[in-house]
């Protein structure tokens, strides 16, 4: 099968719907909060009552422009809205207000890793503004479908990619990148389980080298990134097998069954809709001018790619830089931390070591982490100055600070008796005593048994009650031994 698959080229495009985290709806001022009691966040406009007039939420424009800038799109100056007509019980007006011929963002691209970890650009066709439908609930009442219109009119951005994905892994990476972006931009929580990020996939396959596209199949209803990946890989195999066995791919909409890991027919092409788009006369055009775009640009939060590049320039390796920028909150904490210390590598190690493992342990987000970045920076400085050992700082002191985050690290170190003796004068006494205790070992050392250094170090540490700075002590011991030679 692997060999046969190699003879085919899958052509995959993704349509993502991102629910925006505005307070009020796209064209009316009722609330958008997730999880409210059914039909409590509605009004005459989102209910589609006659004689009502929609009005555009200015935040939706701003959020669309933010995403457009972040995805390197061209932002359209004159935006118009259109009605997409279809009948469905959770669409009260009988049409969706969307954009048809004038999407706000055109072109652009997102940088992802392909399945082999190489850089790849996924080009975008368009991003346009539209509104969500209500929710149909099929499993409460056995005889009726129940309708909750809280979600009706919640703003969405639809992001349409060019068909440039070659496998499920690339689609997974793209979705992860897109979620990261919308979270950094603070325009959506990007939560697929709550439906604030949804994805439809178009897939066709063609023999390698053939120009004409194969018949395309649309797959819907995948509720996780992993399922999108699985659905794509399943569908590629299904289509290739079908063609290889003499069959023909039929244009249809399929749904992904997560339990079985396969796709099933949802609708055949015969049901294809005729949406009869026409201009929405109730909403005046929106003009997005250059000075508006540059204002949005100037206020754009830092983007993951920018921070990644910055951290690479600060000398962090690719692995550290990508882990630190994985989530916006972690990156912001790190940003704060490195504004207080110049030891970037240590800062990264602190976040990825003790801080992350504490957070994982408590199943906690970094926003709730009790110790301020400033205090972590102080710990780093104290270790660098040799005042406390790294293990004392990341162990006992770290735990004590979590217990009581108000404590001053320097005072704490004193109280906990963790200050190392790095003062050469005080240490020298211990060094002399240690060497005096083992005169024959000193001779052996001089004869070339360098491994004995550990023995002297152990003695120095013992004499100092464990408080000697091992780096300084080791240097002094070696100096003394050299002198005696």
């Amino acid at each position: 099968m692997e060999d046969i698959l190699k003879n085919y080229e899958p052509v995959i495009g993704l349509e993502i719907h991102v629910q925006l985290n505005t307070l009020s709806k796209a064209y009316s001022s009722d609330a958008t909060e997730y999880g409210a009691m059914p039909n409590t966040q509605v009004n005459m406009i989102s209910l589609g009552h006659p004689g009502t007039l929609p009005r555009v939420n200015e935040k939706v424009i701003e959020y669309a422009v933010r995403l457009g800038i972040a995805c390197n799109c061209t932002i359209r100056e004159r935006n118009e809205y259109a009605r997409k007509n279809y009948f469905y019980a959770d669409l009260p007006k009988g049409y969706q207000i969307t954009q048809d011929t004038t999407p706000i963002c055109n072109g652009g691209y997102v940088e992802i890793k392909d399945a082999d970890g190489k850089d790849k650009k996924i080009h975008l066709t368009r991003i346009h503004m539209e509104e969500d439908s209500g929710k149909s609930i099929h499993d409460i009442d056995p005889f009726n479908t129940l309708i909750d219109l809280n979600r009706a009119g919640v703003p969405l951005l639809e992001i349409v990619s060019e068909p440039e994905f070659r496998n499920g892994q690339e689609a997974y990476n793209y979705l992860a990148e897109m979620r990261k972006l919308v979270r950094y931009l603070d325009i959506s929580d990007g939560n697929m389980e709550e439906g604030s990020l949804r994805c439809d996939v178009n897939i066709s396959v063609r023999p390698v080298g053939r120009e004409k596209f194969g018949t395309k199949v649309e797959v819907k209803n995948m509720n996780s990134f992993r399922n999108v990946q699985k659905a794509i890989d399943y569908e590629i195999k299904r289509q290739v097998e079908l063609i290889e066995s003499g069959g023909e791919v039929v244009q249809q909409t399929r749904t992904f069954d997560a339990a079985r890991g396969s796709t099933m027919v949802l609708r055949a092409k015969e049901d294809a809709h005729d949406y009869r788009y026409f201009p929405e006369p109730d909403l005046q055009p929106v003009i997005v001018r250059e000075d508006y775009i540059s204002r949005v640009k100037d206020n754009l939060p830092p983007l993951p790619k920018e921070l990644f590049n910055k951290y690479r320039e600060l000398g962090l390796n690719e692995y550290d830089a990508s882990l630190l920028t994985e989530s916006k909150e972690v990156a912001l904490y790190f940003e704060n931390l490195i504004s207080h210390t110049g030891n970037y590598k240590a800062a990264a190690n602190w976040i990825m070591g003790p801080v992350k493992s504490y957070l994982n342990d408590k199943a906690m987000h970094i926003e709730a982490f009790p110790i301020t970045a400033e205090k972590i920076a102080q710990l780093i400085e104290m270790v660098d100055a040799g005042k406390v050992s790294n293990s004392a700082a990341s162990g006992e002191m770290f735990r004590a600070l979590i217990e009581n985050p108000d404590q001053d690290p320097a005072t704490l170190a004193k109280e906990m008796n963790l200050i190392q003796e790095s003062d050469a004068g005080a240490l020298m006494e211990h060094v002399h005593a240690a060497l005096a205790k083992y005169p024959e070992k000193v001779e052996e050392y001089k004869a070339g048994k360098k491994g004995l250094l550990g023995l002297f170090m152990g003695e120095v540490m013992k004499l100092s009650g464990g408080k000697a700075d091992p780096k300084v002590a080791s240097k002094l011991v070696q100096q003394e031994l050299e002198k005696q030679q």
Binding site: N39, R55, A89, H138, F143, L146
Partner: protein
Amino acid sequence: MKLTKEQVEKLAHLARLEFTEEQKESMLNDMDNILGFVEKINGLNLEGIDPLIYMSDEVNVLRKDEVKQETSKDDALKNAPSKDTDYFKVPKIINRGEE
């Protein structure tokens, strides 16, 4: 311009209307008349004239992102032909429609 019966049937389906054969005939006549009337516009020289979509030249009629929750659940459900205390009720739908 003459409409066909198939076109009338298609439009009826899209509007979720059902007609008897007789009604279809009468619809066909009525719509032919309407189209014939509108057809007159095609006789005019419309070069350089944009279609009229908006009733004014205003642009950027925007609203601040502020919540005003003015409609209660009870009011929202009031006119529904079928409902319970929380939801609108509609006939069971098996296949999910297009979004």
